[in-house]
Protein backbone atom coordinates (compact mmCIF):
# COMPACT_ATOMS: atom_id res chain seq x y z
CA UNK A 1 0.00 0.00 0.00
CA UNK A 2 1.98 2.93 1.23
CA UNK A 3 5.16 0.93 0.76
CA UNK A 4 4.52 0.63 -2.97
CA UNK A 5 3.96 4.31 -3.26
CA UNK A 6 7.29 4.94 -1.64
CA UNK A 7 9.42 2.48 -3.54
CA UNK A 8 10.01 4.39 -6.72
CA UNK A 9 10.90 7.73 -5.17
CA UNK A 10 13.23 6.06 -2.66
CA UNK A 11 15.42 4.78 -5.46
CA UNK A 12 16.07 8.28 -6.57
CA UNK A 13 17.17 9.39 -3.13
CA UNK A 14 19.81 6.76 -3.15
CA UNK A 15 21.30 8.25 -6.28
CA UNK A 16 21.05 11.83 -5.22
CA UNK A 17 23.34 12.23 -2.23
CA UNK A 18 25.88 9.50 -1.77
CA UNK A 19 28.33 9.89 1.06
CA UNK A 20 26.92 12.99 2.71
CA UNK A 21 26.48 11.75 6.24
CA UNK A 22 23.29 13.52 7.26
CA UNK A 23 21.08 12.01 9.90
CA UNK A 24 17.63 10.86 8.79
CA UNK A 25 17.85 11.92 5.20
CA UNK A 26 15.44 9.09 4.49
CA UNK A 27 13.16 9.95 1.62
CA UNK A 28 15.03 13.18 1.16
CA UNK A 29 14.65 14.12 -2.50
CA UNK A 30 11.37 12.40 -3.41
CA UNK A 31 9.79 13.45 -0.13
CA UNK A 32 11.15 16.90 -0.78
CA UNK A 33 9.41 16.91 -4.17
CA UNK A 34 6.17 15.71 -2.58
CA UNK A 35 6.62 18.42 0.02
CA UNK A 36 6.99 21.00 -2.73
CA UNK A 37 3.84 19.84 -4.51
CA UNK A 38 1.93 19.75 -1.26
CA UNK A 39 3.25 23.21 -0.46
CA UNK A 40 1.53 24.51 -3.61
CA UNK A 41 -1.69 22.64 -2.84
CA UNK A 42 -1.80 24.24 0.60
CA UNK A 43 -0.47 27.66 -0.32
CA UNK A 44 -2.69 28.40 -3.35
CA UNK A 45 -6.00 28.28 -1.41
CA UNK A 46 -4.45 30.26 1.47
CA UNK A 47 -3.27 32.91 -1.00
CA UNK A 48 -6.72 32.89 -2.62
CA UNK A 49 -8.39 33.49 0.78
CA UNK A 50 -6.17 36.42 1.69
CA UNK A 51 -6.12 38.09 -1.74
CA UNK A 52 -9.85 37.75 -2.32
CA UNK A 53 -10.67 39.08 1.14
CA UNK A 54 -9.12 42.44 0.21
CA UNK A 55 -10.75 42.65 -3.25
CA UNK A 56 -13.83 44.71 -3.93
CA UNK A 57 -16.96 42.82 -4.94
CA UNK A 58 -16.62 44.21 -8.49
CA UNK A 59 -13.01 43.14 -8.76
CA UNK A 60 -13.92 39.65 -7.57
CA UNK A 61 -16.22 39.22 -10.55
CA UNK A 62 -13.82 40.66 -13.13
CA UNK A 63 -10.34 39.64 -11.89
CA UNK A 64 -8.99 36.11 -12.05
CA UNK A 65 -9.02 34.34 -8.69
CA UNK A 66 -5.23 34.41 -8.35
CA UNK A 67 -4.52 37.85 -9.86
CA UNK A 68 -2.75 40.27 -7.59
CA UNK A 69 -5.39 42.60 -6.14
CA UNK A 70 -5.86 45.73 -8.25
CA UNK A 71 -7.78 47.71 -5.69
CA UNK A 72 -7.00 46.86 -2.09
CA UNK A 73 -9.88 47.43 0.30
CA UNK A 74 -10.55 46.64 3.93
CA UNK A 75 -14.29 47.26 3.53
CA UNK A 76 -15.01 43.53 3.59
CA UNK A 77 -13.48 43.32 7.04
CA UNK A 78 -15.41 46.28 8.42
CA UNK A 79 -18.65 44.91 6.89
CA UNK A 80 -18.12 41.54 8.53
CA UNK A 81 -17.43 43.20 11.88
CA UNK A 82 -20.72 45.07 11.57
CA UNK A 83 -22.62 41.86 10.86
CA UNK A 84 -22.31 40.51 14.40
CA UNK A 85 -18.83 39.03 14.11
CA UNK A 86 -17.92 40.28 17.59
CA UNK A 87 -20.85 38.35 19.10
CA UNK A 88 -19.85 35.13 17.33
CA UNK A 89 -16.26 35.62 18.45
CA UNK A 90 -17.27 36.26 22.05
CA UNK A 91 -19.54 33.21 22.08
CA UNK A 92 -16.80 31.01 20.61
CA UNK A 93 -14.26 32.23 23.18
CA UNK A 94 -16.67 31.63 26.07
CA UNK A 95 -17.61 28.17 24.78
CA UNK A 96 -13.96 27.19 24.19
CA UNK A 97 -12.72 28.44 27.59
CA UNK A 98 -15.61 26.81 29.48
CA UNK A 99 -15.02 23.53 27.62
CA UNK A 100 -11.30 23.55 28.42
CA UNK A 101 -11.88 24.28 32.11
CA UNK A 102 -14.53 21.59 32.41
CA UNK A 103 -12.38 18.97 30.66
CA UNK A 104 -9.27 19.71 32.72
CA UNK A 105 -11.09 19.84 36.05
CA UNK A 106 -12.80 16.49 35.39
CA UNK A 107 -10.05 14.62 33.54
CA UNK A 108 -7.05 15.13 35.84
CA UNK A 109 -8.54 13.60 39.02
CA UNK A 110 -9.91 10.76 36.91
CA UNK A 111 -6.50 10.09 35.35
CA UNK A 112 -4.92 10.21 38.82
CA UNK A 113 -7.37 7.63 40.12
CA UNK A 114 -6.82 5.43 37.07
CA UNK A 115 -3.02 5.46 37.46
CA UNK A 116 -2.83 5.17 41.25
CA UNK A 117 -6.15 3.67 42.22
CA UNK A 118 -6.58 -0.01 42.91
CA UNK A 119 -10.32 -0.54 42.86
CA UNK A 120 -12.16 -2.48 40.21
CA UNK A 121 -14.53 0.40 39.63
CA UNK A 122 -11.68 2.67 38.59
CA UNK A 123 -10.42 0.14 36.11
CA UNK A 124 -13.87 -0.23 34.63
CA UNK A 125 -14.08 3.54 34.43
CA UNK A 126 -10.93 3.59 32.31
CA UNK A 127 -12.38 1.01 29.93
CA UNK A 128 -15.46 3.21 29.66
CA UNK A 129 -13.34 6.15 28.51
CA UNK A 130 -11.45 3.98 26.03
CA UNK A 131 -14.70 2.89 24.45
CA UNK A 132 -15.81 6.50 24.56
CA UNK A 133 -12.83 7.49 22.38
CA UNK A 134 -14.66 6.26 19.32
CA UNK A 135 -18.31 6.99 19.97
CA UNK A 136 -19.15 9.32 17.10
CA UNK A 137 -20.93 12.41 18.38
CA UNK A 138 -23.08 12.32 15.24
CA UNK A 139 -24.53 8.98 16.26
CA UNK A 140 -25.95 10.33 19.52
CA UNK A 141 -26.92 13.82 18.41
CA UNK A 142 -30.67 13.02 18.52
CA UNK A 143 -30.72 11.84 22.17
CA UNK A 144 -28.41 14.73 23.10
CA UNK A 145 -30.91 17.08 21.50
CA UNK A 146 -33.63 15.39 23.58
CA UNK A 147 -31.62 15.63 26.82
CA UNK A 148 -30.67 19.27 26.23
CA UNK A 149 -34.25 20.33 25.50
CA UNK A 150 -35.53 18.39 28.54
CA UNK A 151 -32.90 20.16 30.70
CA UNK A 152 -34.26 23.47 29.31
CA UNK A 153 -30.82 24.34 27.98
CA UNK A 154 -31.73 24.54 24.30
CA UNK A 155 -30.37 27.64 22.52
CA UNK A 156 -27.73 28.50 25.14
CA UNK A 157 -23.94 28.33 25.17
CA UNK A 158 -24.22 25.80 28.03
CA UNK A 159 -26.00 23.49 25.58
CA UNK A 160 -22.89 23.58 23.37
CA UNK A 161 -20.33 23.35 26.17
CA UNK A 162 -21.71 20.27 27.99
CA UNK A 163 -21.66 17.75 25.12
CA UNK A 164 -18.52 19.25 23.57
CA UNK A 165 -16.67 18.80 26.85
CA UNK A 166 -18.08 15.30 27.29
CA UNK A 167 -16.76 14.26 23.89
CA UNK A 168 -13.30 15.74 24.58
CA UNK A 169 -13.14 13.98 27.94
CA UNK A 170 -12.10 10.47 26.80
CA UNK A 171 -9.12 11.84 24.87
CA UNK A 172 -8.21 14.06 27.85
CA UNK A 173 -8.36 11.16 30.29
CA UNK A 174 -6.29 8.89 28.03
CA UNK A 175 -3.58 11.52 27.39
CA UNK A 176 -3.35 12.52 31.07
CA UNK A 177 -3.32 8.87 32.14
CA UNK A 178 -0.33 8.11 29.93
CA UNK A 179 1.42 11.26 31.21
CA UNK A 180 0.84 10.36 34.88
CA UNK A 181 2.17 6.86 34.30
CA UNK A 182 5.56 8.46 33.67
CA UNK A 183 5.75 9.84 37.22
CA UNK A 184 7.95 7.38 39.15
CA UNK A 185 6.14 5.45 41.88
CA UNK A 186 8.96 6.26 44.32
CA UNK A 187 7.87 9.90 44.38
CA UNK A 188 4.40 8.92 45.57
CA UNK A 189 5.82 6.46 48.07
CA UNK A 190 8.29 8.95 49.53
CA UNK A 191 5.52 11.46 50.12
CA UNK A 192 3.16 8.79 51.44
CA UNK A 193 5.78 7.76 54.00
CA UNK A 194 5.86 11.39 55.10
CA UNK A 195 2.13 11.08 55.78
CA UNK A 196 0.64 12.66 52.64
CA UNK A 197 -2.80 11.41 51.59
CA UNK A 198 -4.24 11.29 48.06
CA UNK A 199 -5.38 14.93 48.26
CA UNK A 200 -1.94 16.25 49.16
CA UNK A 201 -0.26 14.01 46.57
CA UNK A 202 -2.65 15.38 43.95
CA UNK A 203 -1.92 19.02 44.79
CA UNK A 204 1.79 18.80 45.41
CA UNK A 205 2.88 16.09 43.00
CA UNK A 206 0.32 15.28 40.29
CA UNK A 207 -0.78 18.82 39.49
CA UNK A 208 2.68 20.38 39.03
CA UNK A 209 4.11 17.39 37.12
CA UNK A 210 1.22 17.10 34.69
CA UNK A 211 1.34 20.69 33.50
CA UNK A 212 2.67 19.98 29.96
CA UNK A 213 0.06 17.27 29.47
CA UNK A 214 -2.63 19.60 30.79
CA UNK A 215 -1.54 22.17 28.21
CA UNK A 216 -1.84 19.56 25.45
CA UNK A 217 -5.26 18.40 26.56
CA UNK A 218 -6.41 22.00 26.98
CA UNK A 219 -5.34 22.88 23.45
CA UNK A 220 -7.00 19.78 22.06
CA UNK A 221 -10.28 20.46 23.87
CA UNK A 222 -10.12 24.15 23.03
CA UNK A 223 -9.65 23.55 19.30
CA UNK A 224 -12.41 20.96 19.37
CA UNK A 225 -14.79 23.50 20.86
CA UNK A 226 -13.54 26.23 18.54
CA UNK A 227 -14.16 24.10 15.44
CA UNK A 228 -17.35 22.51 16.67
CA UNK A 229 -20.17 22.74 14.15
CA UNK A 230 -22.71 20.00 14.74
CA UNK A 231 -23.57 20.69 18.39
CA UNK A 232 -24.06 24.45 17.80
CA UNK A 233 -26.04 23.69 14.64
CA UNK A 234 -28.48 21.37 16.38
CA UNK A 235 -28.53 22.84 19.89
CA UNK A 236 -28.75 26.58 19.28
CA UNK A 237 -31.00 28.71 17.17
CA UNK A 238 -30.86 32.44 17.79
CA UNK A 239 -28.27 34.80 16.37
CA UNK A 240 -26.96 35.94 19.76
CA UNK A 241 -26.05 32.36 20.74
CA UNK A 242 -24.26 31.67 17.49
CA UNK A 243 -20.59 30.62 17.52
CA UNK A 244 -18.08 31.40 14.78
CA UNK A 245 -18.35 28.33 12.49
CA UNK A 246 -22.12 28.68 12.49
CA UNK A 247 -21.82 32.41 11.98
CA UNK A 248 -19.66 31.76 8.89
CA UNK A 249 -22.15 29.31 7.49
CA UNK A 250 -25.03 31.63 8.13
CA UNK A 251 -23.12 34.45 6.52
CA UNK A 252 -22.61 32.30 3.44
CA UNK A 253 -26.26 31.36 3.10
CA UNK A 254 -27.41 34.94 3.65
CA UNK A 255 -24.82 36.79 1.59
CA UNK A 256 -23.82 33.94 -0.71
CA UNK A 257 -22.63 36.13 -3.53
CA UNK A 258 -20.37 38.27 -1.31
CA UNK A 259 -17.37 35.94 -1.53
CA UNK A 260 -14.81 38.62 -0.56
CA UNK A 261 -16.86 39.31 2.58
CA UNK A 262 -17.11 35.61 3.36
CA UNK A 263 -13.37 35.15 3.00
CA UNK A 264 -12.69 38.20 5.19
CA UNK A 265 -14.83 36.50 7.82
CA UNK A 266 -12.81 33.29 7.35
CA UNK A 267 -9.56 35.22 7.88
CA UNK A 268 -10.95 36.90 10.99
CA UNK A 269 -12.14 33.56 12.36
CA UNK A 270 -8.64 32.11 11.96
CA UNK A 271 -6.81 35.03 13.58
CA UNK A 272 -7.30 33.94 17.22
CA UNK A 273 -5.87 30.49 16.48
CA UNK A 274 -3.08 32.06 14.41
CA UNK A 275 -2.19 34.27 17.40
CA UNK A 276 -2.16 31.20 19.61
CA UNK A 277 0.01 29.40 17.05
CA UNK A 278 2.56 32.22 16.85
CA UNK A 279 2.57 32.56 20.62
CA UNK A 280 2.96 28.90 21.52
CA UNK A 281 3.80 27.00 18.35
CA UNK A 282 5.53 24.20 20.21
CA UNK A 283 2.68 23.72 22.66
CA UNK A 284 0.04 23.90 19.97
CA UNK A 285 1.72 21.31 17.77
CA UNK A 286 2.57 18.94 20.62
CA UNK A 287 -0.96 19.42 21.88
CA UNK A 288 -2.32 18.28 18.56
CA UNK A 289 0.00 15.31 18.44
CA UNK A 290 -0.54 14.44 22.10
CA UNK A 291 -0.92 10.82 22.88
CA UNK A 292 -0.33 9.59 19.37
CA UNK A 293 3.28 10.58 18.77
CA UNK A 294 4.72 7.67 20.68
Amino acid sequence: MSAQVMTRPETRTQRSSPGKPRRRRVGNVPAGLAAGVWFLIVAVPIYFIVVTSIRTQDAYVTDGPLDPPTSVTLDNYSNVLELGFATFLRNSVIAAVATVVLVLVLALPAAYAIVRGRSRAVRMGFTLFLVGLAIPAQAVIIPIYLIITRLNLYDSLTAIVLPTAAFSLPMGVVVLTSALRDIPGELYEAMTVDGAGPGVLFRRLVLPLSRPALASVGIFAGLNAWNGFLFPLVLTQSADQRVLPLGLWNFQSQYGTDVPGLLAAVVLSALPVLALYLFGRRHLLSGLAAGFGK
Binding site: A31, A35, A134, V140, G185, W249, K294
Partner: protein, 296 residues
Protein backbone atom coordinates in the same frame (compact mmCIF):
# COMPACT_ATOMS: atom_id res chain seq x y z
CA UNK B 1 2.61 -1.99 54.71
CA UNK B 2 0.54 -2.93 51.72
CA UNK B 3 -2.71 -2.28 53.56
CA UNK B 4 -1.51 1.25 54.39
CA UNK B 5 -0.52 2.08 50.80
CA UNK B 6 -3.80 0.62 49.63
CA UNK B 7 -5.74 2.91 51.90
CA UNK B 8 -3.65 5.85 50.72
CA UNK B 9 -4.55 5.35 47.09
CA UNK B 10 -7.22 7.47 45.42
CA UNK B 11 -10.55 5.71 45.10
CA UNK B 12 -13.35 5.80 42.58
CA UNK B 13 -14.57 9.12 44.03
CA UNK B 14 -11.75 10.80 42.12
CA UNK B 15 -12.91 9.41 38.81
CA UNK B 16 -16.63 9.63 39.53
CA UNK B 17 -17.33 13.20 38.36
CA UNK B 18 -15.70 12.53 34.98
CA UNK B 19 -17.38 9.15 34.65
CA UNK B 20 -20.83 10.47 35.55
CA UNK B 21 -20.46 13.47 33.26
CA UNK B 22 -19.30 11.34 30.36
CA UNK B 23 -22.00 8.77 30.99
CA UNK B 24 -24.68 11.47 30.87
CA UNK B 25 -23.65 12.74 27.44
CA UNK B 26 -21.88 9.74 25.98
CA UNK B 27 -23.51 6.54 27.29
CA UNK B 28 -27.05 7.44 28.37
CA UNK B 29 -27.69 8.84 24.86
CA UNK B 30 -26.86 5.45 23.36
CA UNK B 31 -29.60 3.84 25.45
CA UNK B 32 -31.95 6.71 24.60
CA UNK B 33 -31.28 6.43 20.87
CA UNK B 34 -32.09 2.71 20.96
CA UNK B 35 -35.38 3.61 22.69
CA UNK B 36 -36.12 6.40 20.20
CA UNK B 37 -35.59 4.03 17.30
CA UNK B 38 -38.80 2.35 18.45
CA UNK B 39 -40.82 5.55 18.58
CA UNK B 40 -42.43 8.08 16.33
CA UNK B 41 -41.21 11.55 17.24
CA UNK B 42 -41.08 14.84 15.33
CA UNK B 43 -38.58 16.45 17.69
CA UNK B 44 -41.09 18.58 19.53
CA UNK B 45 -43.83 16.61 21.29
CA UNK B 46 -43.50 13.36 23.22
CA UNK B 47 -42.08 10.30 21.45
CA UNK B 48 -44.82 7.68 20.80
CA UNK B 49 -43.89 3.99 20.94
CA UNK B 50 -44.42 2.30 17.58
CA UNK B 51 -42.35 -0.86 17.98
CA UNK B 52 -40.34 -2.07 15.01
CA UNK B 53 -42.04 0.18 12.46
CA UNK B 54 -38.95 2.34 11.91
CA UNK B 55 -36.73 -0.69 11.54
CA UNK B 56 -38.88 -2.22 8.82
CA UNK B 57 -38.87 1.16 7.08
CA UNK B 58 -35.13 0.61 6.61
CA UNK B 59 -35.97 -1.97 3.94
CA UNK B 60 -38.00 0.54 1.95
CA UNK B 61 -35.39 3.30 2.23
CA UNK B 62 -33.78 3.46 -1.18
CA UNK B 63 -31.19 5.94 0.16
CA UNK B 64 -29.89 3.68 2.91
CA UNK B 65 -27.65 1.23 1.05
CA UNK B 66 -26.23 3.88 -1.31
CA UNK B 67 -25.37 6.08 1.70
CA UNK B 68 -23.66 3.14 3.37
CA UNK B 69 -21.68 2.54 0.19
CA UNK B 70 -20.75 6.22 -0.09
CA UNK B 71 -19.59 6.22 3.54
CA UNK B 72 -17.36 3.20 2.86
CA UNK B 73 -15.97 4.78 -0.33
CA UNK B 74 -15.25 8.03 1.50
CA UNK B 75 -13.53 6.17 4.34
CA UNK B 76 -11.35 4.03 2.11
CA UNK B 77 -10.57 6.88 -0.28
CA UNK B 78 -9.63 9.15 2.59
CA UNK B 79 -7.30 6.54 4.05
CA UNK B 80 -5.66 5.73 0.71
CA UNK B 81 -4.98 9.38 -0.06
CA UNK B 82 -3.96 10.63 3.35
CA UNK B 83 -1.83 7.84 4.81
CA UNK B 84 1.00 7.65 2.24
CA UNK B 85 1.05 11.43 1.89
CA UNK B 86 1.14 12.13 5.63
CA UNK B 87 3.76 9.43 6.18
CA UNK B 88 6.00 10.82 3.44
CA UNK B 89 5.62 14.42 4.57
CA UNK B 90 5.93 13.56 8.25
CA UNK B 91 9.17 11.62 7.86
CA UNK B 92 10.54 14.31 5.58
CA UNK B 93 9.65 17.20 7.87
CA UNK B 94 11.23 15.46 10.84
CA UNK B 95 14.64 15.81 9.17
CA UNK B 96 16.86 18.82 8.81
CA UNK B 97 16.57 19.82 5.16
CA UNK B 98 16.70 23.29 3.73
CA UNK B 99 13.36 25.14 3.59
CA UNK B 100 11.96 22.55 5.96
CA UNK B 101 10.97 25.07 8.61
CA UNK B 102 9.27 27.36 6.11
CA UNK B 103 7.48 24.54 4.32
CA UNK B 104 6.28 22.84 7.48
CA UNK B 105 4.92 26.11 8.81
CA UNK B 106 2.83 26.48 5.66
CA UNK B 107 1.79 22.80 5.86
CA UNK B 108 0.25 23.42 9.24
CA UNK B 109 -1.78 26.48 8.24
CA UNK B 110 -4.94 24.43 7.46
CA UNK B 111 -4.93 23.40 11.12
CA UNK B 112 -5.77 27.00 12.01
CA UNK B 113 -8.99 26.96 9.99
CA UNK B 114 -12.20 25.38 11.25
CA UNK B 115 -14.04 22.71 9.28
CA UNK B 116 -16.72 25.25 8.42
CA UNK B 117 -14.18 27.81 7.21
CA UNK B 118 -12.37 25.25 5.03
CA UNK B 119 -15.59 23.99 3.47
CA UNK B 120 -16.76 27.51 2.67
CA UNK B 121 -13.38 28.45 1.19
CA UNK B 122 -13.45 25.45 -1.14
CA UNK B 123 -17.03 26.14 -2.17
CA UNK B 124 -15.81 29.57 -3.35
CA UNK B 125 -12.56 28.28 -4.79
CA UNK B 126 -14.34 25.56 -6.76
CA UNK B 127 -17.11 27.83 -7.99
CA UNK B 128 -17.50 26.98 -11.69
CA UNK B 129 -18.03 30.65 -12.64
CA UNK B 130 -15.67 32.76 -10.57
CA UNK B 131 -13.44 30.28 -8.76
CA UNK B 132 -10.05 28.88 -9.62
CA UNK B 133 -11.79 25.79 -10.97
CA UNK B 134 -13.18 27.83 -13.85
CA UNK B 135 -9.74 28.61 -15.26
CA UNK B 136 -7.80 25.54 -14.07
CA UNK B 137 -10.53 22.93 -14.46
CA UNK B 138 -9.45 22.01 -17.97
CA UNK B 139 -6.01 21.00 -16.69
CA UNK B 140 -7.55 18.91 -13.93
CA UNK B 141 -9.97 16.90 -16.05
CA UNK B 142 -13.02 19.11 -15.63
CA UNK B 143 -13.38 21.30 -18.74
CA UNK B 144 -16.56 22.89 -17.40
CA UNK B 145 -14.82 23.74 -14.12
CA UNK B 146 -17.53 21.94 -12.21
CA UNK B 147 -16.14 19.76 -9.44
CA UNK B 148 -18.61 19.75 -6.57
CA UNK B 149 -21.65 19.87 -8.88
CA UNK B 150 -20.70 16.90 -11.05
CA UNK B 151 -21.96 13.52 -9.79
CA UNK B 152 -18.80 11.64 -10.74
CA UNK B 153 -16.37 14.30 -9.49
CA UNK B 154 -18.10 15.33 -6.26
CA UNK B 155 -16.91 12.49 -4.03
CA UNK B 156 -13.25 12.62 -5.17
CA UNK B 157 -13.39 16.39 -4.66
CA UNK B 158 -14.70 15.94 -1.12
CA UNK B 159 -11.89 13.44 -0.47
CA UNK B 160 -9.40 16.02 -1.75
CA UNK B 161 -10.77 18.77 0.50
CA UNK B 162 -10.68 16.40 3.49
CA UNK B 163 -7.04 15.59 2.67
CA UNK B 164 -6.29 19.31 2.53
CA UNK B 165 -7.76 19.69 5.97
CA UNK B 166 -6.47 16.57 7.72
CA UNK B 167 -3.13 15.63 6.11
CA UNK B 168 -1.39 18.35 8.20
CA UNK B 169 -2.62 16.77 11.42
CA UNK B 170 -1.47 13.29 10.45
CA UNK B 171 1.82 14.70 9.14
CA UNK B 172 2.30 16.13 12.60
CA UNK B 173 1.78 12.71 14.20
CA UNK B 174 4.36 11.14 11.88
CA UNK B 175 6.78 14.01 12.39
CA UNK B 176 6.57 13.71 16.19
CA UNK B 177 6.95 9.93 16.03
CA UNK B 178 9.88 10.04 13.60
CA UNK B 179 11.71 12.44 15.88
CA UNK B 180 11.44 9.93 18.70
CA UNK B 181 13.26 7.19 16.79
CA UNK B 182 16.67 6.85 18.47
CA UNK B 183 19.44 8.24 16.25
CA UNK B 184 21.64 5.35 17.32
CA UNK B 185 19.53 3.00 15.20
CA UNK B 186 20.42 4.97 12.07
CA UNK B 187 24.07 5.28 13.06
CA UNK B 188 24.31 1.53 13.57
CA UNK B 189 22.60 0.92 10.23
CA UNK B 190 24.99 3.30 8.51
CA UNK B 191 28.00 1.47 9.96
CA UNK B 192 26.50 -1.72 8.60
CA UNK B 193 26.37 -0.06 5.19
CA UNK B 194 22.58 0.08 4.91
CA UNK B 195 21.48 2.64 2.35
CA UNK B 196 18.61 5.10 2.71
CA UNK B 197 16.04 2.72 1.26
CA UNK B 198 17.08 -0.06 3.59
CA UNK B 199 17.06 2.34 6.52
CA UNK B 200 13.58 3.51 5.70
CA UNK B 201 12.14 0.02 5.47
CA UNK B 202 14.26 -1.55 8.21
CA UNK B 203 14.08 1.23 10.80
CA UNK B 204 11.70 4.08 10.08
CA UNK B 205 8.67 2.10 8.94
CA UNK B 206 8.76 -0.54 11.74
CA UNK B 207 9.37 2.16 14.35
CA UNK B 208 6.37 4.09 13.08
CA UNK B 209 4.11 1.05 13.16
CA UNK B 210 2.14 2.19 16.20
CA UNK B 211 1.70 5.65 14.75
CA UNK B 212 0.50 4.26 11.44
CA UNK B 213 -2.06 2.21 13.34
CA UNK B 214 -3.12 5.13 15.54
CA UNK B 215 -3.34 7.53 12.61
CA UNK B 216 -5.28 5.03 10.49
CA UNK B 217 -7.71 4.28 13.26
CA UNK B 218 -8.29 7.99 13.80
CA UNK B 219 -9.04 8.33 10.10
CA UNK B 220 -11.47 5.41 10.24
CA UNK B 221 -13.27 6.78 13.26
CA UNK B 222 -13.02 10.30 11.90
CA UNK B 223 -14.64 9.29 8.62
CA UNK B 224 -17.97 9.27 10.44
CA UNK B 225 -17.43 12.82 11.63
CA UNK B 226 -16.40 14.05 8.17
CA UNK B 227 -20.12 14.45 7.66
CA UNK B 228 -19.86 18.12 8.59
CA UNK B 229 -17.58 18.79 5.62
CA UNK B 230 -19.95 16.91 3.33
CA UNK B 231 -22.92 18.88 4.66
CA UNK B 232 -21.19 22.19 3.98
CA UNK B 233 -19.51 21.28 0.68
CA UNK B 234 -22.30 19.47 -1.17
CA UNK B 235 -25.15 18.79 1.26
CA UNK B 236 -25.06 15.26 -0.09
CA UNK B 237 -25.46 16.26 -3.71
CA UNK B 238 -25.47 16.43 -6.61
CA UNK B 239 -28.36 14.00 -6.42
CA UNK B 240 -27.21 11.62 -3.73
CA UNK B 241 -23.62 11.37 -4.97
CA UNK B 242 -22.02 12.36 -1.65
CA UNK B 243 -24.78 11.46 0.79
CA UNK B 244 -22.97 9.64 3.58
CA UNK B 245 -24.81 7.73 6.30
CA UNK B 246 -24.50 10.38 9.06
CA UNK B 247 -25.75 13.04 6.64
CA UNK B 248 -28.70 10.84 5.72
CA UNK B 249 -29.45 10.50 9.44
CA UNK B 250 -29.13 14.25 9.98
CA UNK B 251 -31.50 15.01 7.10
CA UNK B 252 -34.09 12.46 8.25
CA UNK B 253 -33.92 13.79 11.81
CA UNK B 254 -33.31 17.52 11.67
CA UNK B 255 -34.58 18.38 8.20
CA UNK B 256 -37.51 15.98 7.74
CA UNK B 257 -38.15 15.79 11.54
CA UNK B 258 -38.56 12.02 11.50
CA UNK B 259 -36.50 11.48 14.65
CA UNK B 260 -37.67 7.89 15.07
CA UNK B 261 -36.37 6.69 11.73
CA UNK B 262 -33.25 8.84 12.09
CA UNK B 263 -32.62 7.04 15.39
CA UNK B 264 -32.55 3.74 13.51
CA UNK B 265 -29.76 5.13 11.34
CA UNK B 266 -28.09 6.52 14.47
CA UNK B 267 -28.14 3.09 16.13
CA UNK B 268 -26.39 1.71 13.05
CA UNK B 269 -23.79 4.49 13.40
CA UNK B 270 -23.29 3.55 17.06
CA UNK B 271 -22.72 -0.06 16.02
CA UNK B 272 -20.18 1.02 13.40
CA UNK B 273 -18.54 3.30 15.97
CA UNK B 274 -18.40 0.53 18.56
CA UNK B 275 -16.82 -1.91 16.13
CA UNK B 276 -14.22 0.74 15.30
CA UNK B 277 -13.68 1.51 18.99
CA UNK B 278 -12.92 -2.14 19.65
CA UNK B 279 -10.36 -1.85 16.87
CA UNK B 280 -8.92 1.25 18.61
CA UNK B 281 -8.60 -0.49 21.95
CA UNK B 282 -7.18 -3.69 20.45
CA UNK B 283 -4.68 -2.19 18.06
CA UNK B 284 -3.33 1.00 19.62
CA UNK B 285 -2.04 -0.82 22.67
CA UNK B 286 -4.13 1.13 25.17
CA UNK B 287 -5.54 -2.08 26.57
CA UNK B 288 -2.02 -3.27 27.14
CA UNK B 289 -1.26 -0.10 29.11
CA UNK B 290 -4.27 -0.90 31.25
CA UNK B 291 -3.04 -4.39 32.04
CA UNK B 292 0.48 -3.12 32.82
CA UNK B 293 -1.02 -1.44 35.82
CA UNK B 294 -1.85 -4.72 37.46
CA UNK B 295 1.83 -5.13 38.24
CA UNK B 296 1.99 -1.81 40.11
Amino acid sequence: MSSVSLRERPGFVWAAPAAVFFALFGLVPIAVVVYLSGTSWNGLGTPQWVGTENWSALLDDSDFLPSLRTTALLTVGTWLVQTPLALLLGVWSAGAQRFRAVLSTVFFLPLLLSTAAIALVFVSLLDPNFGLAASWGKYLGAPDGNFLGDPSRALPTVIFVLAWQFVPFHTLLYQAATRQIPASLYEAAQLDGANTVRQFFAITLPQLRNTIVASSVMMLVGSVTYFESVLLLTNGGPGNATKVLPLHMYQEGFVAFDMGYASVLAVLLVIIGTVLSVVVVRTTGYHRMASDREGL
